[in-house]
Amino acid sequence: MSSIPSPIPVLSPLRMQRHPRAVVVLTVALLFAGGGLMMHAESQIQVLGLLAAFLVMFAIADRTPLGQDISAICGDYSGFANGVAFVCALGLIVVFRGEHYTLLMLATVALFSTACIALNLQLAFAGIANFAGAAFFVLGSYTAAVMTAYAGIPHLLILVVSGIVTGAIGVILLLPVLRTRGHYAALVTIAFGLLLRSLLEVNDTLGGPQGMKIKGFSILGLDFNRVSSIGPWDVSFYLPYAVLSICIFAVAFTLIRRIERSWIGIALDAVRSDETAASVFGLSIARWKVVAFLIGNAVIGVAGAVYGMMNGFVTPNGSGLGDSLLMLSIIVLGGLGNFWGAVVAAMVILVIPEKLQAIQEFRLLIFALLVLAILLFRPSGILPRPIRDLSRFIGRPGAGA
């Protein structure tokens, strides 16, 4: 902890240390408020102002002792911070309950972040470069499209099956992905994404280039698409989707975070960073790559299913290499292995171009340049992955901390 006195008395290091939870709540709430405003903002001035504010906050967090202290506290209380974040996200939904567009955006960010966390499991932990993320995402949507056509299948089950189906389709790629390394494996997933897209386009069973319609999500007789009010409030029908998306995100986040902080997470790191050493110590390279690849694709599929049901249709368009690259850009930009980094980057990549019409046409170009800059000058991303500190899970504080 730094001993430099803070210019703002409330934020003196000592006080912050005494009330760490308050610091966490304030920080997370501030970030979510900013994020919410960003998604809601309509004028270009507002967007640019918010963007500038975020950049300043980031610079403070990254460069000043005060910011570093706050980041450290949030890191130490990460479980608590995640809980606060969940509540804040729900809070945003309440605030923007009637705004179609804002809620759609929020749900979209949540679902893409979910997919990106899954990609993190594959790339940042297991070291499998999956350049077909968007393809698996769209596969989830198609599964939902096919299954919702049959009435009587509970929609929650459809989500589960979408995950299983995408995971199972990923099995086709296991053999080539396992037998190869690095660029060769990348080629396999790139080829798969392109194959899927051209197949969906030329084959008419799944609607050809026009794609398919998907029925809205419903659970326990509640049809999400018909929701128009809750109690006395008029709400957007996107509200239940936003809630569902955030819940899906929370589940995926918890699941993959637990994988990271378990023996499996260590095994994945070992396999990724040095296959030779890992195998000498009795770890099966194939087993862990399979686990990460299949679970990752399944989670992407579930996110894709919800996304499809929310939009009401799916076309082969979203499955191209460009979209897969966009997903990978998100995780590289956010910081490989940092889940909240992926959320921040998803905001940057999905929301800002929607808001700044001036750059819409140039979005791909700008992101490509942005990712290049990150790779060259800050390869660990906006929020680098913190070291896995398991000492917090044992009954006593870590020695020497």
């Binding site: 190869t180 690095g182 197949l199 790779l375």
Partner: protein, 306 residues
């Protein structure tokens, strides 16, 4: 089946094969000297095609050039700008990221490709749509029974074959080629024996990229139409050819390119579902081939020292 149509398909296959080989050679060369895959290579093909289109258009707008000179200026532009693009990407991205994790290089070059692609789409007037490419080669048709082929096509094919052969000779017979092979063998040793590592690497990038850009020019002349994202597919097929043939070798990617074109042509000839599924089958072939030969037909020989 009609012999003429068969011959026609064979010719198409050869043309595709030459183009794939020209692209694959670059992948193999880059991998040889630096152990990296430069995924932007496919888009260098597009850069070549558009540069020559631009040069021809520009030159034609200023003075009425005879087709030969227009062609020459088009080729010169393609080769120069293509080589330049390759060198810049090599210098700015690939060399600095050489020691970073492989995925970073992969992503960086994919993004560099995206930059090239988007720059063309946004920078060329109406760049999002296919562009017609002028016919600069002499017309005329060679006929033999039901088989007929344009003189221009034959010239393109011959040029491609000559270039591939020339590159092969350059690599195997010249001092520059020797330096490339030395660096590919062992960069450290090559450096110690007085070879300027960076120059050789960038020279290799220039060579491979010029070849790809020329292939782009050929594609324009052959199909008479170019497109800002034609490089994606070509890059992947070129890479796949190089992988299948064996990355790092010189002959491998050439064989791989022709093999790939052969498979694609065969499918079109043999299967009635035809050309719509051409790409689907090409990609399926890539996946299956890699599953069977994970390090290429001519296996990349490499036992990691522990």
């Amino acid at each position: 089946m009609d012999v003429g149509i068969l011959a026609q398909q064979l010719f198409n296959g050869l043309m595709l094969g030459v183009i794939y080989a020209m692209i694959a050679v670059g992948f193999s060369l880059f991998f040889g000297v630096l152990d990296v895959i430069k995924f932007s290579h496919g888009d260098v093909v597009t850069v070549g095609a558009f540069s020559s289109l631009g040069a021809v258009g520009l030159a034609g707008g200023l003075v009425a050039l005879p087709p030969v000179l227009a062609l020459a200026s088009g080729i010169a532009a393609a080769v120069t700008i293509g080589a330049l693009a390759g060198v810049i990407i090599g210098r700015v991205l690939v060399l600095p990221l050489r020691h970073a994790p492989g995925v970073n290089v992969l992503l960086a070059t994919l993004m560099a490709g995206t930059v090239l692609r988007e720059a063309i789409r946004l920078g060329v007037p109406n760049g999002g749509n296919p562009k017609p490419f002028p016919a600069l080669l002499p017309g005329g048709v060679i006929k033999a029974g039901s088989f007929s082929v344009g003189v221009d096509s034959v010239m393109i094919l011959a040029a491609g074959l000559l270039l591939v052969l020339g590159t092969h000779l350059l690599i195997t017979r010249t001092r520059f080629g020797l330096a490339i092979r030395a660096v590919a063998q062992d960069g450290e040793v090559a450096r110690l024996s007085g070879i300027d590592f960076q120059t050789v690497v960038l020279g290799t990038f220039a060579l491979g990229s010029a070849l790809a850009a020329f292939a782009g020019c050929m594609l324009g002349l052959y199909y008479r139409e170019i497109n800002f994202n034609m490089g994606v597919l070509l890059g992947i097929i070129g890479f796949a050819s190089a992988v299948v043939g064996g990355l790092g070798s010189m002959l491998g990617p050439i064989i791989g390119g022709f093999l790939f074109a052969g498979v694609q042509t065969l499918v079109v000839v043999a299967l009635p579902v035809s050309s719509a599924y051409k790409d689907v089958i090409a990609f399926a072939a890539i996946i299956i081939l890699i599953a069977i030969f994970p390090t290429g037909l001519i296996a990349e020989r490499r036992s990691e020292r522990v």
